[in-house]
Amino acid sequence: MWTANSRYEWISPRILPSPSDIAKAFASMIADGDISMNLGTSLLRVAMGFVVGSAVGLGLGISMGLSQTVEAWFGPFFRIITQIPTLVWIPLLMQLLGIDEGLKLVVMAKACSIPITMTTSDGIRNIPKKYLEVGQVLSLPRHILLTKIILPGALPSIFNGLRQGLAHVWISLVIVEMMASTNGIGYLMSWARTLFQLDDVIVCMVLVGAIGFALDFTLRRVEARFLRWHEGAA
């Protein structure tokens, strides 16, 4: 229908470019380096945001899961923060941090660490009591208890959180780049919109979708690799 429409020009091609226009736009955007440059910037940001965010998320999640005290001090505030989507904070953070890399990093890290913190602390708290008792009966030292029983037990929910976190990093980065940036895929998209080059806009949208899918797919492969033992145990 889309192809037929563009052949007969029911809707002006300025409004809805034909698939072949989009393919051409894609080719030319690759040729002049628009895509590789901006996408490279974006992916680098994603990597940084994910590393920082998951470090914060894992740290906070593990300590909140293990320690009643940490949970009591940070838990309630954390749960209030999670109720309000990252998007809302962006103007405030822009005010405090400007529109540089710092802003992107904070937004991504925040978006990423929240699901990870939640699933990690829940995962640790939901480990069956009997596993912990085995550890106590064997009077294992604390660090062995942690690495041999608690972390493996919580690993499935930790991975769940990592996948959600990575998805959030990607989405929030696209949003920040659309709102406040001078490069990256989100910027490329809103700039193309300003120039009314909708073929370029659609190329960017497809890329955003494809990369989101690819990121999730990669992490799912990693998860399958790490959790192979889990299928048999469960």
């Binding site: 409004i15 009591a72 001090w73 940070f74 838990g75 309630p76 505030f77 209030i80 109720q83 309000i84 989507p85 998007l87 809302v88 904070w89 962006i90 103007p91 405030l92 822009m94 005010q95 405090l96 990607w170 989405i171 696209v174 949003i175 659309m178 709102m179 989100g186 998209m189 809103s190 193309a192 919109r193 009314f196 909708l198 806009v201 659609i202 960017c204 949208m205 497809v206 955003v208 979708g209 494809a210 989101g212 899918f213």
Partner: protein, 257 residues
């Protein structure tokens, strides 16, 4: 008694961090550790409400956003309910539209904004359609999965009693899928709130709205306006979230977990 006491203790400790941050905010603004073009104190933020022009814009903006949210959510949910049931009940509909819906869903919602503004402008129409778009997917997908997950034993009962297709739907499928339907409605309402704010942040335009209020503050370098707007949005989000969740818990109270 012990539980009560520990409940109070937990609340006391949980309040320390937010109060500390609030105090830090106040102090850093009061003693100008951070430039007043960047951050103002809570008192100055509230003082902005004294300006009738700002107050009117804010109140009008809240109304406009609420209307937008309602219009978008009703439109999106209505279409979503229809599509969800159609996909689940008709193999033909599923084969025709299932794959394209799944492909569209892969693209993050906010990536649609540039295209939507190009098609429908950055006025009310574009924003309402975006909200509808955001609230459509959770309902459609949730209902489709919920209806498909109805145990086949239950459906067989309907066939054994030779119920008409409408009665099978009304008496068996609908009640069995209700929890999934309510959960998907909850998700979709929460998402429609986020997309209302997102649309107002990202689409710009002259229309009123809470998000537009914040953007206006940004254009005019009015940190008090930005802070006020973000605070109002955050509070409204918190209340909306609580409201939606407790309603859905109330509706699902008959279900044993």
């Amino acid at each position: 008694m012990h539980a009560l006491r520990s409940g109070i203790k937990v609340r006391w400790q949980g309040a320390v961090l937010p109060l500390l941050l609030f105090g830090l905010w106040w102090l850093s603004a009061e003693y100008k550790w951070i430039s007043p073009t960047v951050l103002v104190s809570p008192a100055r933020m509230l003082a902005a409400l004294g300006d009738p022009a700002i107050r009117d814009t804010l109140v009008g903006g809240i109304e406009a956003s609420a209307v937008r949210l309602a219009e978008g959510a009703i439109l999106g949910i209505a279409i979503g309910v229809f599509v969800g049931f159609a996909l689940a009940l008709s193999g033909l509909a599923e084969r025709l539209f299932g794959p394209s819906l799944n492909a569209v869903r892969q693209i993050a919602m906010f990536a649609w904004i540039p295209l939507l503004t190009a098609w429908f402008g950055n006025g009310d129409l574009g924003k309402v359609l975006f909200v509808a778009f955001g609230s459509f997917f959770p309902v459609a997908m949730g209902i489709c999965e919920g209806v498909k997950a109805v145990p086949s034993q239950l459906k067989e009962v309907g066939r054994v009693y030779c119920l008409s297709p409408w009665l099978q739907f009304r008496m068996i499928i609908l009640p069995a899928a209700t929890p999934a339907i309510i959960t998907s409605l909850q998700l979709s309402l929460l998402l429609s709130w986020v997309s209302t704010i997102g649309a107002e942040y990202l689409m710009g335009g002259m229309a009123q709205g809470v998000g537009t209020f914040v953007m206006m503050g940004q254009d005019q370098v009015r940190p008090d306006v930005i802070l006020l707007g973000v605070t109002v949005i955050a509070l409204s989000g918190f209340v909306f979230n609580k409201l939606v969740r407790s309603t859905s818990r109330y509706l699902l109270r008959w279900r044993q977990i």
